[in-house]
Amino acid sequence: MGSLQKVVSKQETSLDPVTFEVLKNGFVNLVDQMAEQMLRTCYSFVIYNRDFSCALCDAEGNTVMQGTHDISVHVGTLHLTAKAVLEDFKGDIHPGDVFLVNDPYRGGTHFCDTRVVLPVFYGGKLIAFMQTNGHWADVGGSNPGSFDVKSRDHFGEGIRIPPVRIYSRGEYLSDVVNLLISNMRVPKERLGDLRSQVEAAKVGQRQLLELIDKYGIDTVLTAFKEVQDYVERLTRKKIESLPEGTWETVDYIDMDPELGDGLIPIRVKMEIKDNEIHYDLSGSHPYISCFLNAGYGAALSGLYAGTKTFFPEVPLNSGFYRVVKATLPENSVVNAPEPVAVTGFCSGAFEKIMNACFEIWSEIMPERAIACSFNLEYLLIGGYDRRDASNNYFMWYDWMAGGHGGRIDRDGANATSPVFGVGLSVQPCEGQERLSPVITTKHEIITDSGGPGKYRGGCGVEKGGVLTEVFGGVMSYCCDRSRSITWGIKGGLPSIPQGAVLHPGTDKEQFLGTIFSNIPMKKGDSFTRPSAGGGGLGDPLERDVETVLEDVIDGYVSIERARKDYGVVIREIDRDVDLYEIDYEATEKEREYIRKHRKDWLRVSPYEVEKMYKNGEIDQLDVIRRYGVIMDYTTNQVLVKSTEQYREAMMKRTLAYWD
């Protein structure tokens, strides 16, 4: 690279293209090296399954580069954490210092996302921060896993760590760390995570110092700035080609448990003007009485991640955040103040914001359109494992893949990790069975779970289990979209409601809904829950008939729903050899019949629908897809207000596109 220095000196303010590209890629490489180290040495299974992220930030705390495989939910929050450290310790940051932060009210996401921030010095001057952020399996609080769905404030949720020094000028502050980890379950493993993250940050530091040795401090610092400028320029360039205007939509959290019937609106308005994107979430509901609220940083992250999805090739750094701006109303469900509980934001406000962004961007960039995807859910079973005469506390902490929304020219992806982070892996049942007295009884794709459309939503998954030798077992659930059911766009239909079921398939079967905590569980108790499919895109009556047949052969769609959802009449001849027949004439008639009545079905009185459902004339999928009616499946009562809200959205997203 002999020629570089020469060119650099020639163009004082700007790097030559080779140095720029080399350093840009070098920064990506550096962050990916930190990630790789973390993945290989972490102790928390959540981190191991890729719920983590890393960043290189500049001396002002701005993100210069985030990792290529970072989980979406951390996007656009890491610079806030670095800035929080700067704010609290300005003038008192020294070589050899390391800081720890998990504060969701200071730009963090939730308590489990614990961040190590390592300041990097060169020639005695602070030049950068290395940041490693991992979801620790537990940070204390009243519930294992630090998920208390019922909490209203954070005091019982887990330990809150504002920026805290854990190494001072190279000296490890064991007393401080002890204070923190003593408030967590299995402190030794947390210490393992901490160590893993500190070492990973050092890997980044080493690599950065090597780049400085090679290219010189001035060049590297210039590159910090120019890489951000580049991302800003790239983003503006892309926006430049789009029309100016304002778009808006609303997505909903199921409910505020204290308020009862009534979806909780999250309103997203977006304006493109002067090559900038401005989001305004004014009009969103005040914060609610359970932990599905989002703090400021987390809500912002939802907007960034939702936007970034439509610009997949743009690297992530603060240059992007200069172009994407947001107004988040105070004291709302999308900007809850301390000490309001926000730990469940990922299942709550966050994914609603992302999907609302998807809907808006699908209008602007129809070639990348995508309908709503299933909702992130976490099921936790804790208790004492009494297998083999032991008595260890166990945590069966499980999340599922599900269906993603239908797309402009193809079906949605089946069984994929949540939009919250498609890099997040689901866990192997065989590993779980070794570690806890819970036997998985099924882990399978659900027939008819994909929202019907010209392009069907991807299929969801069902995972259930039964408890064996357990003592003092309890089950909790962090989920959503049993009422604000995963929706279709451009004429597409919804998928299926989420929510957990106790004792499935027995006469004790009971629907428990999407948020509950500490339900007692004993040996022999069984449970299951579905993840929703994605919403459909386009009019299902326009779906290719042969494609519906292929879906029937593979069991993604049943013969019955092929008729009801798609108006395609299929006869089974010999299932053993996949022999079926399409009745084209009957199909034409069926489609005509549906076309004629479907708008009216969406106006039938909800009480009437409830009656038909209870009489067994129609089933749950009819209630949702044909009538657009929302029910409380714990009581089988219709929810009038929720139905009204849901139907209003369905008129706009679906009915408006039917001829």
Binding site: G2, S3, L4, D16, P17, V18, F20, E21, V22, N25, V28, N29, Q33, E36, Q37, T41, C42, Y43, Y48, V186, K188, G192, E199, K202, Q207, Y230, R233, L234, K308, P312, R368, M400, A401, R407, R410, A413, N414, A415, T416, S417, V422, G423, S425, V426, P428, C429, E430, G431, R434, I439, T441, K442, H443, E444, I445, D554, G555, Y556, D576, D578
Partner: protein, 678 residues
């Protein structure tokens, strides 16, 4: 009767079939290339043999690397295969871990499973995590299913039950019944293929084994038949991803290891060459037209990984040589993105239209075009049979020059520097990131484009030495000749290290070794040529990834093994913790049946370096065109030193020696470049 004295290696790649013939008696080497014939792979091979003008009787050993398995998987041209799982788990293969490779692009999906949902069946059965059978197999249900499979014309069956890695009894019962009911149908069960924990990874491996089993068996048998007609009576040795060969008798059991048979060959060649030159640490850089494969040897062993797949989401759990492939090659495109940054790859001009200088309609600048503009590539390639169009290359590179206000040479130079930086980043991921210091390594650069870039890459990475083997274009075929028969037997074995005695461990290893011996005997390897090695996978309790540590017969205590683990952890992750409890995760036995390998001859100097001088041309180095000597590699006498700037040309590649670098041709005809680190 003609004495069999020639060793033949054929590596069938996507575009070319490479032939490498080594005559043991004379030490002569013959290399050639033919076009691959993917629709009928034997054809290209037989053409190659014809081109080499050797008869079957002359061949002593025939080693073979093939892309038959890779192509079948990617194109989904697979036999009708059914999957049978525990009730409730037939979709595990489709759900996988839920992840996809491109996490941001919602329009880039994971590839679809190798077995469609309609061909995935379930039976009622269950085993728990300790291996207790909770629900035995219902025989009638299985027979009923077998009848259905017969009706469907099923050719192959994969069986994978939950927890079968601890106890495969239910799987074995199903296999027995299927073999009774479906004679001639290929059946493989997960507890035999890969008895390791985690249902998706085991199921995926079992499925790949089941879909490739019939294909690979038929293919090898057909090839053997053809070779027999030509007088070659012995087994064909097929290269597998673990860096060894197997014979047709073990193909059915380990077909999944042939999913990418040839890819390991380059790494093996690079290891061999480095060792020949006296290096125990080497990075292999195999740069072709569209991509570059990078491998690493440390202390004489190539790095092995258990995380590999032909397509993302469908892992193959057998240990495989770790290869990092990146989209950088001679044909990679240089382009300017919307933010105004100069990029290189991963898109490639491919074989068609190819680089602009090929004159086949390509107009976008590639690395080859830039190298031509800089004078590093000659206008005449392949011994003069291929002419490059300089004007077209200049036109293409001009686009980059215009954007940045550069001269055309500056633009071409920028393109190459970005390409080199991308490759350096990839090398860093496999070396620095894993705790290896490139300064302790040699870089073995081969493939059509490797020798053009090797010196610069080494400089960028502080690697002191670059080795360019004599036949860089057919190094992979040569690699096929340099391997032993190799099998890896592994199992999951979860125990606390402190609770296990050395005796218990050896007992486990003993039974695995017995299995390995049986395989080698079946392949006709004499017992005195066996080498069996034990490995143990360890991790700190609570960690999720393990590190593999060798256990030798002389290991005297568990503590000694643990000490090795702490050290390895320290090297790879920069820390260790002797206070922390260590957990055993798995055991592996690697069984090697040593096969005699060719000994490449040493040459004596013949002629002078002046005989090799073809002339001079202006080549761009460090900001200016410099008059540079051009040598014909075939004529350079061994033990000659050449100082840069110099260009060394040969049929299948061009080696660049930049100014202030020096090079030496060693007795094996390798070019050894000493990198100028100033």
């Amino acid at each position: 009767m003609i004495a069999a004295k020639k060793r033949l290696a054929i590596d069938v790649g996507g575009t070319f079939t490479d032939i490498f013939v080594f005559d043991e008696e004379t030490g002569e080497i013959f290399v050639t290339k033919t076009s691959s014939t993917p629709s009928n792979p034997e054809k290209g091979i037989l053409e190659g043999i014809a081109k080499a003008k050797i008869s079957g009787e002359e061949i002593k050993v025939f080693s073979h690397g093939t892309t038959v398995g890779t192509n079948a998987l990617i194109e989904r041209k697979l036999p009708k295969t059914a999957l049978i799982t525990t009730k409730g788990f037939r979709d595990v293969i489709e759900i996988g871990r839920g992840t996809k490779e491109d996490i941001w692009d919602t329009y880039k999906d994971k590839a679809r499973p190798y077995i469609r949902r309609r061909d995935r069946f379930e039976v009622t059965e269950r085993t728990d995590y300790r291996g207790n059978i909770l629900v035995p197999v219902d025989e009638n249900e299985v027979r009923e299913l077998a009848r259905k499979l017969k009706k469907r014309g099923t050719e192959s069956v994969a069986v994978c039950f939950i927890n079968a890695y601890v106890n495969g009894e239910n799987e074995r019962r199903v296999k027995e019944i299927l073999q009774e009911e479906l004679p001639g149908v290929y059946v493989c069960i997960s507890s035999e293929v890969l008895p390791e924990i985690f249902e998706h990874e085991r199921m995926s491996t079992t499925i790949i084994n089941a879909v490739l089993g019939p294909i690979m068996t038929t293919y090898i048998h057909r090839l053997e038949e053809e070779m027999q007609k030509r007088g070659y009576k012995d087994d064909i040795l097929v290269l597998h991803s673990g860096g060894g060969v197997m014979t047709s008798s073990t193909v059915p059991r380990y077909a999944a290891r042939l999913a990418s048979s040839g890819i390991a060959a380059g790494a093996i060649a690079s290891k061999h060459i480095a060792k020949l030159c006296g290096y125990r640490n080497a990075i292999g850089l195999d740069m072709g037209g569209t991509s570059t494969d990078i491998s690493l040897m440390y202390d004489g062993d190539i790095r092995i990984t258990k995380e590999w797949a032909i397509e993302y989401g469908y892992p193959i759990g057998f240990p495989s040589i770790e290869i990092l492939t990146i989209g950088a090659g001679g044909g990679s495109l240089a382009w300017i993105d919307e933010g105004g940054s100069l990029r290189n790859g991963p898109q490639s001009a491919g074989a068609s239209p190819g680089p602009a200088c090929y004159g086949r309609g390509g107009t976008e600048p590639t690395n080859s075009d830039a190298n031509l503009v800089l004078g590093r590539l000659s206008e005449k390639l392949l011994g003069g049979t291929m002419e490059l169009d300089v004007a077209k290359a200049e036109q293409a590179v001009q686009k980059i020059a215009d954007h940045f206000g550069y001269s055309i040479e500056e633009a071409a130079n920028a393109i190459i520097e970005v390409a080199n930086a991308n490759m350096s980043d990839a090398v860093r991921l496999i070396s620095v990131r894993r705790g290896y210091d490139p300064r302790d390594f040699a870089l073995v650069a081969f493939g059509g484009a490797g020798p053009l870039h090797g010196a610069y890459l080494a400089k960028e990475l502080n690697i002191p030495t670059v080795i360019i083997p004599p036949y860089p274009g057919v190094a992979a075929a040569m690699g096929c000749l340099l391997v032993d028969v190799r099998h890896d037997i592994s199992k999951t074995y979860l125990r606390q290290a402190e609770e296990v005695t050395l005796e218990e461990l050896y007992e486990e290893f003993e039974s695995m070794q017995a299995e390995a011996r049986e395989l080698l005997l079946e392949e006709g390897i004499p017992e005195e040529q066996f080498t069996l090695m034990n490995f143990i996978d360890l991790r700190y309790q609570g960690q999720w990834r393990s590190l593999s540590v060798p256990v030798s017969q002389s290991s005297s205590s568990i503590e000694e093994i643990l000490e090795l683990f702490h050290k390895e952890h320290e090297r790879e992750f920069a820390y260790s913790d002797r206070e922390q409890k260590v957990e055993i995760y798995g055991l592996r036995v690697t069984a090697i049946g040593t096969v005699p390998k060719p000994e490449f001859p040493k040459y004596e100097p013949e002629g002078t370096v002046e005989d090799a001088l073809k002339g001079t041309r202006k080549v761009y180095f460090d900001g200016e065109f410099v008059t540079t000597k051009i040598y014909d590699r075939d004529k350079i006498p061994v033990e000659t030193e050449i100082t840069g700037p110099a260009i060394i040309e040969q049929l299948d590649t061009t080696t660049v020696i930049p100014p202030k670098f020096s090079a030496k041709v060693d007795q094996y005809k390798n070019i050894i470049i000493s990198v100028n680190q100033s």
